[in-house]
Structure formats: structure tokens, C-alpha cells
């Protein structure tokens, strides 16, 4: 009976299978990005970038209607522009990255809203804001999978400089000039994954499938590799459970997925093996050396 409830939605309905495929692809690419966002103390940067993308997507929507390609391109352009400008200003002036990004994403948001209101069209941006993972058509699914693949390949290439730069930026600077480029490439990956996520979860929740799994992973592992594996696993689990939850109840799919992830996060904060609250209360006897 329970097994039925857990599996039947996917065997019976194609749209659920598509949704599951999409959420797995999003998890595979987004969760590792989220881990690096967290470790580089940029968790809120993902949030800011999500806002920066919104106007670009709105402009794309304005120019060519509910055209996936146009909206994605608009989002990418806006996101890249903000990420790269903010990164360049931070690196060339010594202004902190967060301050630099805050100014740029606010400006981007203002530009987007201005364009929309000047055009005077009453657009329904609900789809962009909250996404609809249950309406995955072939091109969307294909694009999500492509972006996820690109993300993983590129991340593999910049993995080492990214780790070294997070730990000891001065060292990387003295042995290689890869630091700044890999940081910018990383920001680009953040943008790609946010755009990827907004088809499914909407701009505002897309970042959730990146950051929450990273937060969960922090409580279960002490090394980067372990964290990435746990983050991916918990993202996929949240996606699957969220879809089932949304299918069996009336909760919309996007929020359902994020709510499951949030539930896992709360569980990890309480019971996590590294730094979880319960573990801190019952530390066990001290060792000999």
C-alpha cells in the first residue's frame, strides 16, 4: 500500500517521470555548486543572483512571450553581467564581494522592473517566480540535462583552484593565475544552475535545491568530497519525496521539494554526526590522545 503510494505516481504518469528526471539532473549539478557556495561563505550570493536573473528573464518574456529559450538567455545575460561586473569590481578595487554584488543585483532588479513598467504589459510572471516542475516538456528537460552536464564537467576542471582559493587565496595567487578566472567561471556556473532551476522551482526557490542540501551535508561530513556526495543524495531524496508529497497532497511541487529539504536540514541540525545538537549534548567519553 505504502509502496504503491511511493512508486505508482511515477509508473502511472509521464509528467511525474519527467519531473523526477528534472529534479535528479538539477540535484546532480546544483548540490555541488551549493556546497562550494556555502564553503566560500557565499550562501546568500546565490540568493542575490536569483534576484539578478529575474529581470533578464522578464525581458526575455517581454520580447518573445513564454519562450523558454528567450527567457533563459535573458536570465543568463543578466546573471552573467551582474556576476562578472560584481566580481571584477570586487577584485580590482578591494570592495568586498558581497557589497559589490548587492549594489549590482539591486541595480539589475531596478532596471528589470523599470523596463517592464515602461512597456506597461501586465505579464503573468507567476511561472517564472514559482516554476512548474510538473510541466516539463522535451526541450526543457533536454536543456536542464545539458546544463547539468556542462556544470559537472566545468566544475571538475576548476575544482582544484576553487578549493585552494577557498583555503589560501594568497598561495594560489603566487603559484597560478587561475584564481580569478576560476572564480568567475564558478559564478557563471551559479547563474547557469539558477536559470536551470527556475524552470522547475521558480527563481525564488531554485537556490533552495543548491543551498539546503549543502547545509545538510555540513552536518554529516568533514571533507569536501563527502559533503558533495551527501548534498547530491539529499537533494535527490528531497526532490523525490517532495514530488510524492505534492502528488498525494495539494501542496505545489516546488514548495513541497524545498519543504522536504528543509525538514532534512532540521533533522541534520539536531542529529547530524558532525556538530549536530544532540551529538554535542552527548559527546561520549574523551579519548586517550
Amino acid at each position: 500500500m505504502i509502496v504503491q503510494a511511493l512508486i505508482a505516481p511515477f509508473t502511472e504518469f509521464e509528467f511525474m517521470r519527467r519531473a523526477l528526471a528534472a529534479v535528479i539532473a538539477l540535484s546532480l549539478a546544483g548540490a555541488p555548486i551549493g556546497v562550494f557556495l556555502m564553503l566560500r561563505r557565499m550562501s546568500l550570493v546565490g540568493d542575490a543572483m536569483a534576484h539578478a536573473i529575474l529581470p533578464g528573464a522578464a525581458i526575455g518574456f517581454l520580447l518573445s512571450g513564454l519562450n523558454l529559450f528567450a527567457m533563459t538567455t535573458g536570465g543568463l545575460i543578466a546573471g552573467f553581467a551582474v556576476a562578472i561586473l560584481a566580481g571584477l569590481v570586487a577584485r580590482s578595487t578591494g570592495l568586498k564581494e558581497d557589497a559589490s554584488l548587492a549594489t549590482f543585483y539591486l541595480a539589475s532588479l531596478a532596471v528589470g522592473v523599470t523596463i517592464v513598467s515602461v512597456k506597461g504589459t501586465n505579464i503573468d510572471l507567476l511561472h517564472v517566480l514559482f516554476g512548474n516542475i510538473l510541466a516539463m516538456d522535451d526541450p526543457t528537460l533536454l536543456m536542464i540535462a545539458t546544463n547539468a552536464t556542462i556544470t559537472l564537467l566545468v566544475l571538475a576542471v576548476i575544482y582544484r583552484p576553487l578549493v585552494i582559493e577557498s583555503v589560501d587565496p594568497v598561495f594560489l595567487r603566487t603559484v597560478s593565475s587561475a584564481g580569478a578566472p576560476s572564480h568567475l567561471v564558478f559564478l557563471a556556473l551559479v547563474v547557469i544552475n539558477l536559470v536551470n532551476g527556475f524552470q522547475a522551482l521558480g527563481t525564488l526557490l531554485a537556490v533552495g535545491l543548491m543551498i539546503l542540501p549543502a547545509g545538510i551535508a555540513r552536518f554529516w561530513s568533514r571533507d569536501v568530497t563527502g559533503m558533495i556526495c551527501i548534498a547530491v543524495a539529499s537533494a535527490i531524496l528531497s526532490g523525490y519525496a517532495g514530488l510524492v508529497l505534492s502528488f498525494q497532497t495539494r501542496i505545489p511541487s516546488g514548495p513541497a521539494i524545498i519543504l522536504v529539504a528543509a525538514g532534512l536540514y532540521v533533522g541534520s541540525v539536531l542529529f547530524g554526526s558532525t556538530g549536530g545538537l544532540v551529538r554535542q549534548l552527548i559527546p561520549g567519553r574523551h579519548l586517550q590522545a
Binding site: P161, V163, T174
Partner: protein, 252 residues
């Protein structure tokens, strides 16, 4: 002896205020040079200029054919995020960057080199510990192990023996002497005058401008040290632009 490093009328500034002023001199290849001076004398600034983090406002630094990337640089307060979940092994392995780069594998040979480097600084057995769990002295040993793996012709150590105990600094000093013996050029900024007298053949006494540069015994005289103390720490917000040519240079 071949010249490794040349400073020519070098001036390094922060916001146009000079921290190193009109420095001229040569460092021979294979030299073991102590850079001594009060706080704010420009020791760290000089090193930052050397590794290319700070661009000279005037004058020039010649690295004798080396690229800045061929320098192993140990900064004074390494800006290391020790909360990052990285193991001692992985951290030291980053010293092999020049060999392995982005995607090169860490094979048997590299593992042996890493194990050797860790053994040389007395950190065998720490491979799987997180860098966040190390003490200050162990962290300094770890940084030395990474310098060791960098296998650089020119090694620049900025106050490497600060805030570490006698045993650790003796071990690390021995390592520094070993690098010297291997023919590498080693520059170290230091505060312990007695240590410099005992261990370093050549000294640059810096007080923003070079006070004296040459054999340690000739440089570290009472009057030179007194002069260095007097020269430092003057910072004038409204200082006029400097037009004076270089007056002092290295003793031959």
C-alpha cells in the same frame, strides 16, 4: 656568484605612501639573507612586491630569469580559511601545483613526495586530520612542508618563527638551513636579532629605506639598529611628492 635578485631604486607604496623607499641592491644566487627591521619597516611589503602581489610604484625588481610563480612564498599571517574541510594531506599536496596543475593525478611518486615532506616537518601521521584541528605550531610546520614541495629556487619566508615554540622554530630553522645548503636562495624576515647573528650570513636592515646591507656582523651594529629605530613609523598624511634620488646602496 651569479645574481638572483636585483632591486633598482625600488619604491613600493600603499596609496602613494612609500613602505619601501629607494631600495637598491643585489641578492646573490644561493644567498641566505635575513631582512631585519622594526615593525612597519617594509619587510612584508618588500616580499609582497617580490612575489608580485604589490606592483612597484617606481624602480624595478629583477628576478634573474625566474617567474614570480617560481617563488615559494610564506606570508606572515597566512590568510588561510581553516574552517574549510580539507585534510593535511590535500593541503600539502597543493604545493605540487606546478607539477600537477588543474587535473594532473597524484600517483605513487607524488604520494611519496608528500609523505617525505610531512616527515621532514614532523607531521607524519597527521595526513587525514583536518587543517582546522592543528595547533599554531603544527600549522606553521604544515606551511613549511608545502614550501618544501614547491621545490622553488627562491624561497621567501615572512617572519616564519613568530609565535611558535623553541623546538618547532629550531626544526624549521634546520629546514631553512637545508634549503640554503641545497643552493636555493632564501630570504627571511626576522625579529630575533640573536638568531640572525648566529645563523644568517647576510642581512638587510630595513627601515623603509635600507639602513645597511651586507655581512650580518657589519650590519647589526648598535648604531645601525638605533638609526633604524629612529627612521621608522613616520607617516605624514600631507607628505610632498618625493624627488630625492637613491642615496644609499648595498655595501659591496
Amino acid at each position: 656568484m651569479a645574481v638572483q635578485l636585483q632591486f633598482r631604486d625600488l619604491t613600493l607604496c600603499y596609496d602613494r605612501h612609500p613602505a619601501v623607499h629607494h631600495l637598491t641592491g643585489d641578492v646573490a644566487s644561493g644567498a641566505l639573507l635575513a631582512v631585519v627591521g622594526p615593525n612597519g619597516a617594509g619587510k612584508s611589503t618588500l616580499f609582497r612586491g617580490l612575489v608580485g602581489i604589490l606592483k612597484p610604484l617606481s624602480g624595478l625588481i629583477s628576478l634573474g630569469g625566474l617567474h614570480t610563480r617560481d617563488i615559494a612564498y610564506l606570508p606572515q599571517s597566512a590568510d588561510i580559511d581553516r574552517s574549510f574541510p580539507l585534510s593535511v594531506f590535500d593541503f600539502v599536496a597543493s604545493g605540487l601545483w606546478r607539477q600537477i596543475g588543474f587535473c594532473g593525478g597524484i600517483g605513487k611518486k607524488e604520494r611519496a613526495m608528500i609523505a617525505q615532506a610531512l616527515a621532514a616537518v614532523g607531521l607524519t601521521g597527521f595526513e587525514n586530520r583536518g587543517i582546522g584541528t592543528l595547533s599554531g605550531g603544527q600549522m606553521q610546520r604544515l606551511l613549511f612542508a608545502r614550501v618544501l614541495l614547491q621545490d622553488a629556487k627562491l624561497i621567501v619566508l615572512d617572519e616564519p618563527f613568530n609565535a611558535i615554540d623553541a623546538k618547532t622554530s629550531a626544526d624549521l630553522l634546520a629546514l631553512t638551513k637545508r634549503w640554503h645548503a641545497e643552493g636555493r636562495t632564501v630570504l627571511a624576515a626576522l625579529h630575533d636579532i640573536e638568531l640572525v647573528r648566529a645563523q644568517f650570513p647576510e642581512t638587510l636592515l630595513l627601515a623603509r629605506e635600507p639602513v645597511a646591507w651586507g655581512a650580518t656582523a657589519d650590519v647589526l651594529t648598535a648604531e645601525h639598529l638605533e638609526e633604524a629605530r629612529r627612521m621608522c613609523e613616520a607617516f605624514d598624511d600631507d607628505a610632498a611628492a618625493c624627488v630625492a634620488p637613491s642615496v644609499r646602496s648595498q655595501a659591496a
